[in-house]
Amino acid sequence: MECREIREIVSAYVDGEAHAAEVRAVEDHLGACPACRSLAGTMRVLGDGVGKIEGKVPPGFRDALFDRLEREDLLPRRRSLFAFAVRWTAVPLAAAAALALFILTARETGKGPASPPETLPRVAQGLPGGESHVSAGPGATSGSSASVPPVAGTAPSAGGTGPVDSRLSAESSRFAAEADGGARGLSAEEREIVAYLELLEDPSSLDEPGEVDEMDLFEPAAGRRGSPG
């Protein structure tokens, strides 16, 4: 290929835009032609010269442009701090409010008429026998109801309204109240269970001062609790 035919391709070659076949042709020619090799260098220098021309960015360039953009209503204005606060706190606040409302209504629902009535066994209430799961009568057994565990140390007594029953009732009520205050969200049945569990832990709390534990009856008199000996 002659020099004048290849010069335009040399221009694309120095710009990295020659095709593969053109690259081979140029490199073959440049290898054999010092003049075109010199020309390729000159072309490269001329291309580099464009990059040497750089403009200055004056200090107020951006501000002047943005002022003009705002005047022409082409640039959204910055949102106010109030709007920003509302935007980014509204969702979390709404979620917190919804959660609080849910918790409150759940508690209310637990005390409402639709929920099982908060009733302790009659013996815990100090009431006479009847519908009580733990009958006060002598024939009653602790296994008459699976829902109420037998209270250790408190065998069914002859008198359902005796001091044990009333004390049990008082303790259970107290425990139930504590359970109610300390275990929010428990159902009535759960509160009842908690109250009886407290009694199981410390059945002697039901004993009146001086009262003899039935289990101690089998021990020598000297070892009986509450016994004067």
Partner: protein, 184 residues
């Protein structure tokens, strides 16, 4: 750009931060004057903001940006038509120009590392560049100055790749004709 169209001010701030220097450099390479370049660059960004709705996300943003920049600077150049010396496109095949170039000192003296771009040389080069016909100048500046490929230059200018190739070659011929006494 898509975020700016949706009303994000920060998106435009980001666009400006990324591209304002490129726009100013392009404008000064095309206009040859700092004051005109600043004015043209402001106008380019205003046009970008006004035309945001017309921007197609599938197109490369820089291609679109340079299209606007080139049209903007063209208006500024037309305004100064008749001022200063202009080089016409060469009518011949440039044989004389490149033959003269071939008689310049050997390849080693024309390597980029050897050429010392003094302020005088830069000034002369800028004058010679400014004297080129706008179509040749734009093609040469977009490729060599802004780093666009021939294909991207063709997209910006709305011409074929072959047309870009020819224009850049002719631009080099004309520049060499004007600067051969300084380069080498």
């Amino acid at each position: 750009m898509a975020l700016y169209r949706e009303g994000s001010r920060d998106a435009f701030e980001e666009l400006f931060a990324r591209h304002h220097r490129k726009v100013i450099n392009f404008c000064i390479r095309m206009t040859g004057d700092q004051a005109r370049a600043e004015e043209a660059a402001q106008e380019v960004f205003l046009r970008i903001a006004r035309a945001a709705a017309a921007y197609e996300p599938t197109a490369k943003f820089t291609t679109w940006m340079y299209t606007i920049a080139r049209r903007t600077t063209l208006n500024f150049i037309r305004d100064e038509k008749g001022e200063g010396e202009r080089l016409d496109a060469p009518t011949g095949n440039g044989e004389e120009t490149f033959s003269r170039a071939a008689r310049l000192p050997g390849p080693d003296s024309l390597t980029p590392e050897y050429i010392a771009w003094s302020s005088q040389l830069r000034e002369k080069f800028a004058e010679a560049l400014r004297a080129l016909p706008e179509t040749h100048r734009a093609a040469f500046v977009l490729n060599r100055g802004e780093g666009l490929s021939y294909e991207e230059v063709a997209a910006v200018m709305g011409v074929t790749v072959q047309a870009v190739k020819s224009r850049i070659f002719r631009a080099r011929e004309m520049l060499l004709d004007r600067l051969s006494g300084l380069i080498g």
